[in-house]
């Protein structure tokens, strides 16, 4: 059945809430408003005000509420309207949720999902346009998941809700409207497994979330230029299925890593460093990174376009690593 990325997320939550009444959804505007981005459309009606709960604008407080509720045996889904606002809640995510099991010698754990849109939307400026997955992925105790299409959105969110650890589930607002084939009912994608979105032999392009689409466009363009790119979407950022990436690089000997976020100590840096450590001898050229520019996001349309990675930049990087530039 063809549905949107938004509907796929909604389906995943509804199915899991029907299956397990310990699961509840809490966040700003998730209930009566049906979600700021309509991801929770109809859920209040379906599950009632006890399981779909609007909160005051207090991210630190309701993130902590989720942590405590998960310790007490519930399975919270805490929605951040966007991950930009999660910065206010980071202490509860990083110092409480991520460390609780370890600190308590295994007695308590925090099986919960923090979810919402990450990265930039369109024209919303610097405070509403940042990709923080590298911060979350830095932290042991957390898992970080980022779907790039509707089917993955459903399968990964269901897996995240069932997972017994704290999962930071980072969606993308611009993808919410994307339509794709999504299996109904029980459809689960195991965490920690990358997906080859396009097979190819000349160059490996690793890209996650919205950038996966950019990478596929770039691959199509490269094909016209006679360069056969393999596009890999890690889907789970932490822990990372590097075997799939390293396997591809062993075949292509060339790699471009794409991310929307800032470059310094980003996801691309980690993947590049891992290829250095584990695939050095496979490389015929240094791994290249295509990332967001090292500036805050501007509002003006032209500056915004320049700030984000572009298909053209990915194509160019692929040409460079394949010595076609």
């Amino acid at each position: 059945m063809k549905i949107t990325y938004r509907e796929a997320l909604n389906q995943a939550m509804c199915e899991e809430m029907e299956r397990d009444n310990r699961v509840f959804l809490m966040g700003e505007e998730v209930a009566e408003y049906n979600g700021a981005y309509k991801v929770s459309q109809g859920m209040l009606e379906k599950f009632g005000p006890k399981r779909v709960i609007d909160t005051p604008i207090t991210e630190l407080g309701f993130a902590g509420l989720g942590v405590g509720a998960s310790m007490a045996g519930l399975r919270p889904i805490i929605e951040f309207m966007t991950w930009n606002f999660a910065i206010l809640a980071l202490d509860q995510i990083v110092n409480a949720a991520a460390k609780m099991k370890y600190m308590s010698g295994g007695q308590y754990s925090c099986p919960m999902v923090f979810r919402g849109a990450g990265g930039s939307a369109a024209r919303v400026g610097s405070q509403h346009s940042q990709a923080l997955e590298n911060w979350m992925a830095n932290v042991p105790g957390l898992k970080v998941v980022m779907p790039s299409n509707p089917a993955d959105a459903k399968g990964l969110l269901k897996a995240a809700i069932r997972d017994n650890d704290t999962v930071c589930f980072i969606e993308n607002e611009i993808n919410y409207g994307d339509v794709g084939e999504v299996p109904d009912g029980e459809y689960i994608i195991p965490l920690g497994k990358a997906d080859v979105k396009r097979p190819g032999k000349d160059v490996t392009i690793v890209a996650h979330s919205r950038m996966t689409g950019f990478a596929l466009e770039a691959a199509a363009e490269l094909a016209k230029q006679g360069i056969d790119a393999e596009v890999i979407d890690p889907r789970t950022i932490r822990p990372l299925d590097e075997a799939t990436i390293l396997g591809s690089v062993a075949k292509t000997n060339r790699c471009v890593v794409v991310e929307e976020g800032w470059r310094f100590a980003g996801i691309g840096a980690e993947i590049s460093a891992r290829i250095m450590e584990k695939g050095f001898d496979d490389l015929d050229a240094p791994v290249a990174r295509v990332t967001g520019k090292d500036v805050p996001m501007a509002y003006a349309a032209n500056l915004e376009r320049m700030t984000l990675p572009s298909v053209a930049e990915i194509v160019e990087a692929a040409r460079v690593v394949t010595n076609r530039a």
């Binding site: 207090t58 024209r123 400026g125 349309a301 032209n302 500056l303």
Partner: protein, 353 residues
């Protein structure tokens, strides 16, 4: 003719509100400023509909009395900062409307060079310190401006504005405590428009009398009619005096209403037509002042009709001039990141990779 209007009518040369009198020029200035903001926001709404303005766009229609009354009570040297719902406030402060409109359009001549957009307006010459997109973030920042006035003893007061949703953020109470502990010259203004996006006040706040939110920190508060520009001016004057006199911070809850959705993308189905009409037609701050001035024989309907035409023309010119501007120069992408960029260190200023 309401009691208030009767009382007002008493003084022929102007209006009175609770013993404070306003001369004709002041009243016209307040009216024109409110009407200008109203028409400016309507124009912004149109341009958004035409997709010339992008992203989020939060209009303040209905809340003009708060913007204008506050500004009239304040000194130009007093500081002000607010949330993303900032067009009305920066216009009331006297910033160039063409620059504000150009900002909404993402143009080179925007008040922040097209880099901030609707949510991030700043005008340092008018002591307007933003324009913040993170709900509540401006409150600790306002605390810092108040601290700086205490540190320099410069006699300025900071007007730190937040919404009825923003007031729940923890940083607000950390700031209340420090402001009260150190008696900083700050007026915390709560624009209570009764909704935070789709969330009605009583669904988000245990204590809905927001002027009481400072009690636990020994901060006095008052609730005022945010739909009456004279009430706002009068009580903000008192609040500013309180803060300026060294007695410490004070809370002002201005009860108001936003006519439009939360942002341009919000149909606002969570409110009844009746409720909106009651405020829009029953309590509109502009219509109210016009009626008071007419009743007091200070102006005629014709005058206000003329003035409205004039202002609409002005706003059209503003929009045309703003639209005529080019987008920011691409080189602007790399400016304003650092005051002291370090050449020769990575990431390199102005370079990719």
């Amino acid at each position: 003719m309401s009691a208030k209007q009767k009382q007002a009518a008493k003084s022929a040369k102007g209006l009175e509100f609770e013993g404070r009198s306003y001369d004709v020029d002041t009243l016209h200035a307040m009216h024109d400023s409110m009407l200008f903001i109203r028409r400016f926001e309507e124009k912004a709404g149109q341009l958004y509909g035409l997709k010339k303005i992008g992203g989020f766009c939060h209009l303040c229609n209905g809340q003009e009395a708060v913007c204008v009354g506050m500004e009239h009570a304040a000194q130009p040297t007093d500081y002000m900062m607010t949330s993303y719902r900032d067009h009305g406030h920066i216009l009331a402060r006297g910033s160039d409307p063409t620059a504000v409109m150009a900002e909404l359009l993402g143009r080179a001549g925007g008040i922040v060079k097209g880099k901030g957009g609707s949510m991030h307006m700043f005008d340092i010459d008018k002591n307007f310190a933003g324009g913040n997109g993170i709900v509540g973030e401006q409150v600790p920042i306002g605390l810092g401006f108040g601290f700086s006035s205490w540190y320099k003893d410069d006699g300025r007061v900071t007007m730190c504005i937040m919404g009825d949703g923003g007031i729940n953020q923890g940083g607000v109470y950390e700031s209340f405590n420090m402001a009260a502990l150190w008696k900083l010259p700050i007026v915390f203004v709560i624009e209570n428009n009764q909704y935070a996006m789709g969330t009605a006040l009583n669904r988000a706040s245990a204590e809905t009398h927001l002027f009481k939110r400072g009690i636990s920190f020994k901060i006095p508060g008052m609730q005022i009619d945010g739909m009456d520009v004279l009430a706002v001016e009068k009580h903000m004057t008192e609040a500013l005096e309180h803060a300026r006199s060294g007695e410490g911070p004070i809370l002002v809850e201005a009860v108001t209403y936003r006519y439009r959705g939360h942002s341009m993308s919000d149909p606002a189905t969570y409110r009844t037509r009746e409720e909106v009409d009651e405020w829009r037609t029953g309590r509109d701050p502009i219509a109210r002042l016009q009626q008071q001035m007419i009743d007091a024989g200070l102006a005629t309907e014709e005058h206000f009709k003329e003035k409205d035409k004039e202002i609409k023309k002005e706003v059209n010119t503003v929009a045309k001039d703003a639209e005529a501007q080019p987008e920011p120069d691409p080189s602007e992408l790399w400016t304003d990141v650092y005051s002291d960029p370090i050449e020769g260190a990575y990431p390199y200023p102005g370079k990719v990779g």
